[in-house]
Protein backbone atom coordinates (compact mmCIF):
# COMPACT_ATOMS: atom_id res chain seq x y z
CA UNK A 1 0.00 0.00 0.00
CA UNK A 2 1.13 3.52 -0.79
CA UNK A 3 -0.57 6.20 1.29
CA UNK A 4 0.20 9.91 1.15
CA UNK A 5 -1.64 11.90 3.78
CA UNK A 6 -1.69 15.69 3.45
CA UNK A 7 1.85 15.72 2.07
CA UNK A 8 3.51 19.01 1.13
CA UNK A 9 6.88 19.56 -0.44
CA UNK A 10 8.80 22.56 -1.71
CA UNK A 11 11.44 22.30 -4.38
CA UNK A 12 12.85 25.79 -4.94
CA UNK A 13 9.93 27.97 -6.00
CA UNK A 14 7.90 24.86 -6.83
CA UNK A 15 5.25 23.73 -4.28
CA UNK A 16 2.98 20.74 -3.87
CA UNK A 17 0.51 21.20 -1.00
CA UNK A 18 -1.90 18.87 0.81
CA UNK A 19 -1.39 15.82 -1.40
CA UNK A 20 -3.61 12.81 -0.67
CA UNK A 21 -3.03 9.59 -2.57
CA UNK A 22 -3.91 5.98 -1.78
CA UNK A 23 -2.93 2.88 -3.75
CA UNK A 24 -4.06 -0.30 -1.92
CA UNK A 25 -1.76 -3.34 -1.79
CA UNK A 26 -1.30 -5.12 -5.07
CA UNK A 27 -2.88 -2.37 -7.16
CA UNK A 28 -1.34 -0.47 -10.06
CA UNK A 29 -1.62 3.30 -9.66
CA UNK A 30 -0.86 5.66 -12.49
CA UNK A 31 -0.09 9.32 -11.84
CA UNK A 32 -0.60 11.61 -14.79
CA UNK A 33 0.10 15.27 -15.29
CA UNK A 34 1.66 17.76 -17.66
CA UNK A 35 5.42 18.17 -17.94
CA UNK A 36 6.58 20.27 -14.99
CA UNK A 37 3.48 19.50 -12.90
CA UNK A 38 5.65 17.92 -10.19
CA UNK A 39 5.03 14.19 -10.86
CA UNK A 40 8.71 13.26 -10.58
CA UNK A 41 9.16 15.41 -7.44
CA UNK A 42 6.25 13.61 -5.78
CA UNK A 43 7.67 10.23 -6.80
CA UNK A 44 11.07 11.24 -5.42
CA UNK A 45 9.43 12.25 -2.13
CA UNK A 46 7.89 8.77 -1.88
CA UNK A 47 11.25 7.13 -2.60
CA UNK A 48 12.94 9.47 -0.12
CA UNK A 49 15.15 11.60 -2.37
CA UNK A 50 13.18 14.74 -1.54
CA UNK A 51 12.06 15.60 1.95
CA UNK A 52 8.50 16.63 2.66
CA UNK A 53 7.57 19.75 4.64
CA UNK A 54 4.32 18.35 6.02
CA UNK A 55 2.16 15.23 6.08
CA UNK A 56 3.05 11.55 6.21
CA UNK A 57 4.04 8.83 3.76
CA UNK A 58 3.03 5.29 4.65
CA UNK A 59 4.29 2.32 2.69
CA UNK A 60 2.89 -1.18 3.40
CA UNK A 61 1.51 0.07 6.71
CA UNK A 62 4.82 1.64 7.87
CA UNK A 63 5.35 5.38 8.26
CA UNK A 64 8.47 6.12 6.23
CA UNK A 65 8.19 9.93 6.12
CA UNK A 66 11.58 10.46 7.76
CA UNK A 67 13.12 7.12 6.79
CA UNK A 68 16.26 6.77 4.69
CA UNK A 69 15.53 5.78 1.05
CA UNK A 70 17.80 2.75 1.44
CA UNK A 71 15.42 1.31 4.05
CA UNK A 72 12.11 2.00 2.29
CA UNK A 73 12.27 -1.15 0.19
CA UNK A 74 11.15 0.49 -3.05
CA UNK A 75 12.10 -0.78 -6.48
CA UNK A 76 12.79 2.32 -8.55
CA UNK A 77 12.91 2.58 -12.33
CA UNK A 78 13.87 6.03 -13.64
CA UNK A 79 13.09 7.31 -17.13
CA UNK A 80 16.59 6.70 -18.50
CA UNK A 81 17.07 3.37 -16.72
CA UNK A 82 20.22 4.73 -15.03
CA UNK A 83 22.09 1.46 -15.49
CA UNK A 84 25.48 1.09 -13.82
CA UNK A 85 27.73 1.43 -16.84
CA UNK A 86 30.86 -0.10 -15.31
CA UNK A 87 28.98 -3.34 -14.60
CA UNK A 88 27.64 -6.12 -16.78
CA UNK A 89 23.91 -6.79 -17.13
CA UNK A 90 24.32 -9.69 -14.69
CA UNK A 91 26.02 -7.46 -12.12
CA UNK A 92 23.28 -4.85 -12.54
CA UNK A 93 20.61 -7.47 -11.84
CA UNK A 94 22.54 -8.84 -8.86
CA UNK A 95 23.32 -5.43 -7.36
CA UNK A 96 20.56 -5.20 -4.72
CA UNK A 97 21.24 -8.80 -3.65
CA UNK A 98 24.99 -8.14 -3.31
CA UNK A 99 24.20 -5.10 -1.16
CA UNK A 100 22.07 -7.37 1.03
CA UNK A 101 24.92 -9.91 1.21
CA UNK A 102 22.75 -12.71 -0.18
CA UNK A 103 24.54 -16.05 -0.67
CA UNK A 104 26.26 -16.25 -4.06
CA UNK A 105 24.45 -19.42 -5.14
CA UNK A 106 21.07 -17.82 -4.48
CA UNK A 107 22.10 -14.66 -6.36
CA UNK A 108 23.01 -16.70 -9.44
CA UNK A 109 19.66 -18.51 -9.39
CA UNK A 110 17.69 -15.29 -8.83
CA UNK A 111 19.51 -13.46 -11.65
CA UNK A 112 18.81 -16.39 -13.98
CA UNK A 113 15.08 -16.28 -13.14
CA UNK A 114 14.95 -12.51 -13.56
CA UNK A 115 16.77 -12.63 -16.88
CA UNK A 116 14.32 -15.22 -18.14
CA UNK A 117 11.33 -13.17 -16.97
CA UNK A 118 12.68 -10.01 -18.62
CA UNK A 119 13.79 -11.80 -21.79
CA UNK A 120 17.41 -10.71 -21.42
CA UNK A 121 19.10 -14.07 -20.79
CA UNK A 122 21.34 -13.59 -23.83
CA UNK A 123 22.61 -10.22 -22.53
CA UNK A 124 23.87 -11.27 -19.09
CA UNK A 125 27.59 -11.07 -19.85
CA UNK A 126 27.31 -7.79 -21.79
CA UNK A 127 28.24 -4.35 -20.52
CA UNK A 128 25.38 -1.87 -20.58
CA UNK A 129 27.02 0.30 -23.26
CA UNK A 130 25.38 -0.32 -26.59
CA UNK A 131 22.17 -1.90 -25.26
CA UNK A 132 19.03 -0.70 -27.03
CA UNK A 133 16.46 1.47 -25.22
CA UNK A 134 14.12 -1.48 -24.69
CA UNK A 135 16.92 -3.73 -23.43
CA UNK A 136 18.06 -1.04 -21.02
CA UNK A 137 14.58 -0.70 -19.54
CA UNK A 138 14.23 -4.48 -19.21
CA UNK A 139 17.54 -4.62 -17.31
CA UNK A 140 16.57 -1.66 -15.13
CA UNK A 141 13.18 -3.22 -14.35
CA UNK A 142 14.83 -6.56 -13.51
CA UNK A 143 17.31 -4.78 -11.25
CA UNK A 144 14.47 -2.97 -9.44
CA UNK A 145 12.57 -6.25 -8.91
CA UNK A 146 15.59 -8.31 -7.84
CA UNK A 147 15.06 -7.94 -4.09
CA UNK A 148 11.29 -8.49 -4.39
CA UNK A 149 10.26 -5.02 -3.23
CA UNK A 150 6.76 -4.51 -1.88
CA UNK A 151 6.52 -1.19 -3.77
CA UNK A 152 7.56 -0.35 -7.32
CA UNK A 153 7.98 3.25 -8.50
CA UNK A 154 8.29 3.83 -12.24
CA UNK A 155 9.14 7.28 -13.56
CA UNK A 156 8.02 7.55 -17.20
CA UNK A 157 9.67 4.23 -18.07
CA UNK A 158 8.34 4.15 -21.62
CA UNK A 159 8.68 7.76 -22.71
CA UNK A 160 12.07 7.38 -24.42
CA UNK A 161 11.13 4.26 -26.41
CA UNK A 162 9.94 3.76 -29.98
CA UNK A 163 6.31 2.63 -30.52
CA UNK A 164 7.08 -1.08 -30.98
CA UNK A 165 9.43 -1.38 -28.00
CA UNK A 166 7.03 0.68 -25.94
CA UNK A 167 4.24 -1.84 -26.63
CA UNK A 168 6.54 -4.75 -25.69
CA UNK A 169 7.59 -3.17 -22.37
CA UNK A 170 3.98 -2.19 -21.68
CA UNK A 171 2.92 -5.84 -22.03
CA UNK A 172 5.88 -6.87 -19.86
CA UNK A 173 4.68 -4.49 -17.12
CA UNK A 174 1.16 -5.96 -17.35
CA UNK A 175 2.52 -9.52 -17.13
CA UNK A 176 4.83 -8.74 -14.22
CA UNK A 177 2.09 -6.99 -12.29
CA UNK A 178 -0.23 -9.98 -12.77
CA UNK A 179 2.52 -12.40 -11.70
CA UNK A 180 4.01 -10.51 -8.77
CA UNK A 181 1.17 -8.27 -7.65
CA UNK A 182 3.60 -5.56 -6.49
CA UNK A 183 1.96 -2.28 -5.44
CA UNK A 184 3.03 0.10 -8.19
CA UNK A 185 3.08 3.83 -8.79
CA UNK A 186 3.72 4.61 -12.43
CA UNK A 187 4.26 8.22 -13.50
CA UNK A 188 3.43 9.14 -17.08
CA UNK A 189 1.84 11.77 -19.27
CA UNK A 190 0.56 9.19 -21.76
CA UNK A 191 -3.16 8.42 -21.55
CA UNK A 192 -2.85 5.16 -23.56
CA UNK A 193 -0.27 3.83 -21.11
CA UNK A 194 -2.48 4.81 -18.18
CA UNK A 195 -5.58 3.19 -19.72
CA UNK A 196 -3.73 -0.14 -20.24
CA UNK A 197 -2.12 -0.32 -16.81
CA UNK A 198 -4.09 1.61 -14.21
CA UNK A 199 -6.21 0.10 -11.46
CA UNK A 200 -6.26 3.61 -10.03
CA UNK A 201 -5.67 6.73 -12.04
CA UNK A 202 -4.54 10.03 -10.56
CA UNK A 203 -3.90 13.41 -12.10
CA UNK A 204 -1.60 16.07 -10.69
CA UNK A 205 -2.96 19.53 -11.49
CA UNK A 206 -1.97 22.85 -9.91
CA UNK A 207 -0.14 21.15 -7.06
CA UNK A 208 -3.10 18.87 -6.14
CA UNK A 209 -3.76 15.19 -6.85
CA UNK A 210 -7.19 14.26 -8.21
CA UNK A 211 -8.41 10.69 -8.55
CA UNK A 212 -9.93 9.89 -11.93
CA UNK A 213 -12.41 7.25 -12.96
CA UNK A 214 -10.67 4.30 -14.67
CA UNK A 215 -13.88 2.83 -16.08
Amino acid sequence: MICLDDVSLHVGAFRLEGIHLLIPSGEYGVLMGKTGAGKTSLLEAIIGFKSTTAGSITLSGRDVTRENPALRGIGYLPQDGALFSTMTVEENLAFALRVRKVEKKRIVARVKDLAELMGIGHLLSRRTHGLSGGERQRVALGRALAFEPSILCLDEPLSALDAETREQILQLLVTIHKMKGVTTLHVTHDLGEAATLADRLFRLVDGKVEMLDTA
Partner: protein, 303 residues
Amino acid sequence: MSEWSGSKRGIERYETRASRITLANRVFIVSFMLIGLTYLMLIFGMLMADVLYVFEQSLGKARNSSHFWASLISANPIAVSLRDPKIQYSIWLSMISCTLAAIGSVAFAVPLGYVLSRIPFRGRNLVDAFLDIPIVLPPLIVGLSLLILFQFAPFKWAARSIVYQVPAVILAQWAVSCAYAVRTMKMTFDQINPRCEQVAISLGCTRFQAFAWVTFPEAKLGLLTAFTLAWARSLGEFGPLLIFAGATRMKTEVLSTSVFLEMNVGNIEGAVAVSLLMIFTSIVVLMITRWASNRTADEKASV
Protein backbone atom coordinates in the same frame (compact mmCIF):
# COMPACT_ATOMS: atom_id res chain seq x y z
CA MET B 1 7.10 30.26 -61.16
CA SER B 2 5.74 31.31 -57.77
CA GLU B 3 4.91 34.90 -56.91
CA TRP B 4 7.98 34.95 -54.64
CA SER B 5 10.41 33.98 -57.42
CA GLY B 6 10.69 37.60 -58.59
CA SER B 7 11.56 38.99 -61.98
CA LYS B 8 14.31 37.67 -64.28
CA ARG B 9 16.54 40.52 -63.16
CA GLY B 10 15.74 39.68 -59.56
CA ILE B 11 16.81 36.05 -60.08
CA GLU B 12 20.08 37.18 -61.72
CA ARG B 13 20.74 39.50 -58.78
CA TYR B 14 19.97 36.62 -56.40
CA GLU B 15 22.44 34.36 -58.24
CA THR B 16 25.13 37.06 -58.05
CA ARG B 17 24.36 37.44 -54.36
CA ALA B 18 24.53 33.66 -53.85
CA SER B 19 28.04 33.52 -55.31
CA ARG B 20 29.00 36.47 -53.10
CA ILE B 21 27.69 34.62 -50.02
CA THR B 22 29.75 31.54 -50.95
CA LEU B 23 32.84 33.74 -51.36
CA ALA B 24 32.16 35.56 -48.07
CA ASN B 25 31.75 32.23 -46.24
CA ARG B 26 35.06 30.99 -47.64
CA VAL B 27 36.83 34.22 -46.65
CA PHE B 28 35.40 33.92 -43.14
CA ILE B 29 36.54 30.31 -42.66
CA VAL B 30 39.99 30.84 -44.22
CA SER B 31 40.68 34.01 -42.20
CA PHE B 32 39.74 32.28 -38.93
CA MET B 33 41.92 29.29 -39.85
CA LEU B 34 44.83 31.60 -40.64
CA ILE B 35 44.51 33.38 -37.28
CA GLY B 36 44.49 29.98 -35.51
CA LEU B 37 47.39 28.77 -37.62
CA THR B 38 49.53 31.73 -36.53
CA TYR B 39 49.34 30.60 -32.91
CA LEU B 40 49.87 26.95 -33.85
CA MET B 41 52.99 27.99 -35.79
CA LEU B 42 54.27 29.81 -32.70
CA ILE B 43 53.88 26.66 -30.53
CA PHE B 44 55.47 24.48 -33.22
CA GLY B 45 58.23 27.05 -33.78
CA MET B 46 59.10 27.20 -30.06
CA LEU B 47 59.35 23.42 -29.80
CA MET B 48 61.33 23.07 -33.03
CA ALA B 49 63.69 25.90 -32.02
CA ASP B 50 64.70 23.93 -28.90
CA VAL B 51 65.20 20.75 -30.92
CA LEU B 52 67.16 22.56 -33.65
CA TYR B 53 69.33 24.36 -31.10
CA VAL B 54 70.32 21.09 -29.41
CA PHE B 55 70.84 19.42 -32.80
CA GLU B 56 73.02 22.32 -34.03
CA GLN B 57 75.17 22.20 -30.89
CA SER B 58 75.52 18.42 -31.15
CA LEU B 59 76.45 18.64 -34.82
CA GLY B 60 79.02 21.39 -34.13
CA LYS B 61 80.74 19.27 -31.48
CA ALA B 62 80.60 16.14 -33.60
CA ARG B 63 82.20 17.88 -36.59
CA ASN B 64 85.17 18.96 -34.46
CA SER B 65 85.58 15.45 -33.11
CA SER B 66 87.47 12.63 -34.85
CA HIS B 67 84.65 10.16 -34.02
CA PHE B 68 81.61 11.88 -35.58
CA TRP B 69 78.84 9.40 -34.70
CA ALA B 70 80.16 8.55 -31.23
CA SER B 71 80.46 12.23 -30.46
CA LEU B 72 76.98 12.98 -31.85
CA ILE B 73 75.49 10.41 -29.49
CA SER B 74 77.58 10.96 -26.37
CA ALA B 75 78.45 14.67 -26.53
CA ASN B 76 75.03 16.07 -27.38
CA PRO B 77 73.63 18.37 -24.65
CA ILE B 78 70.87 15.93 -23.64
CA ALA B 79 73.34 13.07 -23.09
CA VAL B 80 75.69 15.41 -21.23
CA SER B 81 72.87 16.62 -19.00
CA LEU B 82 71.68 13.08 -18.32
CA ARG B 83 75.21 12.15 -17.16
CA ASP B 84 75.39 15.13 -14.82
CA PRO B 85 74.74 13.96 -11.20
CA LYS B 86 73.01 17.26 -10.41
CA ILE B 87 70.54 16.77 -13.28
CA GLN B 88 70.14 13.09 -12.36
CA TYR B 89 69.21 14.20 -8.82
CA SER B 90 66.86 16.82 -10.25
CA ILE B 91 65.12 14.23 -12.49
CA TRP B 92 64.80 11.80 -9.57
CA LEU B 93 63.40 14.46 -7.23
CA SER B 94 61.02 15.72 -9.92
CA MET B 95 59.61 12.23 -10.52
CA ILE B 96 59.17 11.55 -6.79
CA SER B 97 57.81 14.99 -5.85
CA CYS B 98 55.45 15.27 -8.84
CA THR B 99 54.07 11.79 -8.17
CA LEU B 100 53.53 12.49 -4.46
CA ALA B 101 51.99 15.91 -5.22
CA ALA B 102 49.68 14.32 -7.82
CA ILE B 103 48.64 11.52 -5.41
CA GLY B 104 47.97 14.17 -2.74
CA SER B 105 46.03 16.24 -5.26
CA VAL B 106 43.64 13.47 -6.30
CA ALA B 107 43.25 12.37 -2.66
CA PHE B 108 41.83 15.82 -1.91
CA ALA B 109 40.23 16.41 -5.31
CA VAL B 110 37.96 13.34 -5.20
CA PRO B 111 36.06 14.27 -2.01
CA LEU B 112 36.13 17.99 -2.75
CA GLY B 113 35.04 17.57 -6.38
CA TYR B 114 32.27 15.20 -5.26
CA VAL B 115 30.97 17.57 -2.57
CA LEU B 116 30.94 20.51 -5.00
CA SER B 117 29.23 18.47 -7.69
CA ARG B 118 26.67 16.53 -5.67
CA ILE B 119 25.95 18.07 -2.29
CA PRO B 120 23.97 21.32 -2.28
CA PHE B 121 24.92 23.70 0.54
CA ARG B 122 24.82 27.41 1.17
CA GLY B 123 27.91 29.15 -0.23
CA ARG B 124 28.76 26.37 -2.68
CA ASN B 125 29.37 28.87 -5.49
CA LEU B 126 31.65 30.86 -3.21
CA VAL B 127 33.70 27.76 -2.32
CA ASP B 128 33.83 26.86 -6.00
CA ALA B 129 35.19 30.30 -6.88
CA PHE B 130 37.60 30.21 -3.91
CA LEU B 131 39.19 27.07 -5.31
CA ASP B 132 40.24 29.01 -8.40
CA ILE B 133 42.52 31.24 -6.32
CA PRO B 134 45.62 29.00 -6.59
CA ILE B 135 45.05 28.90 -10.37
CA VAL B 136 44.77 32.65 -10.90
CA LEU B 137 47.19 33.80 -8.19
CA PRO B 138 50.67 34.77 -9.44
CA PRO B 139 52.93 31.75 -8.68
CA LEU B 140 55.40 33.80 -6.65
CA ILE B 141 52.56 34.92 -4.37
CA VAL B 142 51.63 31.28 -3.72
CA GLY B 143 55.21 30.59 -2.62
CA LEU B 144 55.39 33.72 -0.51
CA SER B 145 52.03 32.97 1.12
CA LEU B 146 53.19 29.45 2.00
CA LEU B 147 56.37 30.89 3.47
CA ILE B 148 54.39 33.35 5.59
CA LEU B 149 51.91 30.62 6.61
CA PHE B 150 54.79 28.67 8.13
CA GLN B 151 55.56 31.62 10.38
CA PHE B 152 52.34 30.92 12.28
CA ALA B 153 51.36 28.13 14.67
CA PRO B 154 50.75 25.26 14.22
CA PHE B 155 52.70 25.31 10.95
CA LYS B 156 55.75 27.03 12.42
CA TRP B 157 56.38 24.02 14.68
CA ALA B 158 57.14 21.99 11.54
CA ALA B 159 58.78 24.84 9.61
CA ARG B 160 62.40 23.74 10.21
CA SER B 161 61.82 20.33 8.65
CA ILE B 162 59.68 21.61 5.77
CA VAL B 163 60.67 25.10 4.57
CA TYR B 164 63.67 25.03 2.18
CA GLN B 165 63.64 21.22 2.43
CA VAL B 166 62.31 18.51 0.08
CA PRO B 167 58.83 18.48 1.72
CA ALA B 168 58.51 22.16 0.72
CA VAL B 169 58.97 21.14 -2.92
CA ILE B 170 56.08 18.66 -2.68
CA LEU B 171 53.90 21.05 -0.69
CA ALA B 172 54.41 23.93 -3.13
CA GLN B 173 53.67 21.67 -6.11
CA TRP B 174 50.60 20.23 -4.37
CA ALA B 175 49.25 23.67 -3.37
CA VAL B 176 48.79 24.62 -7.02
CA SER B 177 48.21 21.27 -8.74
CA CYS B 178 45.43 20.30 -6.31
CA ALA B 179 43.25 23.15 -7.63
CA TYR B 180 43.54 21.74 -11.18
CA ALA B 181 42.72 18.24 -9.94
CA VAL B 182 39.66 19.51 -8.03
CA ARG B 183 38.39 21.30 -11.17
CA THR B 184 38.84 18.11 -13.21
CA MET B 185 37.16 15.87 -10.64
CA LYS B 186 34.22 18.26 -10.22
CA MET B 187 33.71 18.25 -14.00
CA THR B 188 33.97 14.45 -14.01
CA PHE B 189 31.31 14.04 -11.29
CA ASP B 190 29.11 16.64 -13.04
CA GLN B 191 29.13 14.44 -16.15
CA ILE B 192 28.13 11.25 -14.28
CA ASN B 193 24.38 10.70 -14.09
CA PRO B 194 23.38 11.32 -10.43
CA ARG B 195 20.33 9.14 -11.03
CA CYS B 196 22.59 6.03 -10.93
CA GLU B 197 23.63 6.88 -7.40
CA GLN B 198 19.98 7.45 -6.41
CA VAL B 199 19.03 4.06 -7.84
CA ALA B 200 21.87 2.42 -5.87
CA ILE B 201 20.59 4.09 -2.67
CA SER B 202 17.02 2.94 -3.39
CA LEU B 203 18.42 -0.59 -3.78
CA GLY B 204 19.76 -0.48 -0.23
CA CYS B 205 23.18 1.22 -0.43
CA THR B 206 24.52 3.80 1.97
CA ARG B 207 25.76 6.99 0.29
CA PHE B 208 29.33 5.80 0.67
CA GLN B 209 28.53 2.41 -0.92
CA ALA B 210 26.71 4.14 -3.79
CA PHE B 211 29.75 6.36 -4.30
CA ALA B 212 32.29 3.55 -4.01
CA TRP B 213 30.47 0.96 -6.13
CA VAL B 214 28.69 3.11 -8.71
CA THR B 215 30.05 6.66 -9.06
CA PHE B 216 33.75 6.18 -8.35
CA PRO B 217 34.27 3.36 -10.91
CA GLU B 218 32.63 5.60 -13.52
CA ALA B 219 35.03 8.40 -12.59
CA LYS B 220 38.21 6.37 -13.13
CA LEU B 221 39.16 8.04 -16.42
CA GLY B 222 38.50 11.46 -14.90
CA LEU B 223 40.75 10.40 -12.04
CA LEU B 224 43.50 9.51 -14.50
CA THR B 225 43.08 12.90 -16.18
CA ALA B 226 43.19 14.68 -12.81
CA PHE B 227 46.32 12.75 -11.80
CA THR B 228 48.19 13.44 -15.05
CA LEU B 229 47.18 17.11 -15.07
CA ALA B 230 48.30 17.51 -11.46
CA TRP B 231 51.54 15.68 -12.28
CA ALA B 232 52.25 17.90 -15.30
CA ARG B 233 51.33 21.04 -13.37
CA SER B 234 53.71 20.01 -10.57
CA LEU B 235 56.49 19.37 -13.07
CA GLY B 236 56.14 22.87 -14.50
CA GLU B 237 55.89 24.60 -11.12
CA PHE B 238 58.72 27.06 -10.52
CA GLY B 239 57.74 30.32 -8.78
CA PRO B 240 56.38 28.87 -5.52
CA LEU B 241 59.31 26.44 -5.36
CA LEU B 242 61.88 29.18 -5.68
CA ILE B 243 60.37 31.14 -2.78
CA PHE B 244 59.24 28.31 -0.50
CA ALA B 245 61.75 25.53 -1.18
CA GLY B 246 64.67 27.47 -2.63
CA ALA B 247 66.84 26.30 -5.51
CA THR B 248 69.64 24.47 -3.74
CA ARG B 249 71.59 22.06 -5.93
CA MET B 250 71.33 18.41 -4.96
CA LYS B 251 68.75 19.33 -2.32
CA THR B 252 65.60 21.08 -3.55
CA GLU B 253 66.46 21.16 -7.23
CA VAL B 254 63.79 19.87 -9.59
CA LEU B 255 63.78 20.08 -13.41
CA SER B 256 62.22 23.56 -13.57
CA THR B 257 64.79 24.91 -11.11
CA SER B 258 67.54 23.12 -13.08
CA VAL B 259 66.62 25.18 -16.16
CA PHE B 260 66.84 28.34 -14.05
CA LEU B 261 70.15 27.34 -12.41
CA GLU B 262 71.75 26.28 -15.72
CA MET B 263 70.70 29.61 -17.27
CA ASN B 264 72.18 31.44 -14.27
CA VAL B 265 75.59 29.85 -14.80
CA GLY B 266 75.42 30.58 -18.54
CA ASN B 267 74.92 26.96 -19.61
CA ILE B 268 72.22 27.56 -22.22
CA GLU B 269 72.82 24.17 -23.83
CA GLY B 270 72.12 22.42 -20.51
CA ALA B 271 69.05 24.55 -19.89
CA VAL B 272 67.64 23.74 -23.34
CA ALA B 273 68.45 20.04 -22.91
CA VAL B 274 66.57 19.90 -19.60
CA SER B 275 63.73 21.87 -21.22
CA LEU B 276 63.52 19.24 -23.97
CA LEU B 277 63.22 16.50 -21.34
CA MET B 278 60.36 18.46 -19.77
CA ILE B 279 58.70 19.05 -23.15
CA PHE B 280 58.86 15.32 -23.93
CA THR B 281 57.33 14.46 -20.54
CA SER B 282 54.60 17.07 -21.01
CA ILE B 283 53.71 15.66 -24.44
CA VAL B 284 53.39 12.15 -22.96
CA VAL B 285 51.15 13.52 -20.18
CA LEU B 286 49.09 15.45 -22.74
CA MET B 287 48.59 12.29 -24.81
CA ILE B 288 47.42 10.33 -21.75
CA THR B 289 45.01 13.12 -20.80
CA ARG B 290 43.59 13.36 -24.35
CA TRP B 291 43.21 9.60 -24.55
CA ALA B 292 41.34 9.50 -21.22
CA SER B 293 39.09 12.42 -22.24
CA ASN B 294 38.28 10.84 -25.60
CA ARG B 295 37.47 7.49 -23.99
CA THR B 296 35.17 9.21 -21.49
CA ALA B 297 33.41 11.02 -24.37
CA ASP B 298 33.08 7.74 -26.34
CA GLU B 299 31.61 5.94 -23.34
CA LYS B 300 29.12 8.77 -22.77
CA ALA B 301 28.15 8.73 -26.47
CA SER B 302 27.51 4.99 -26.49
CA VAL B 303 25.13 5.08 -23.49
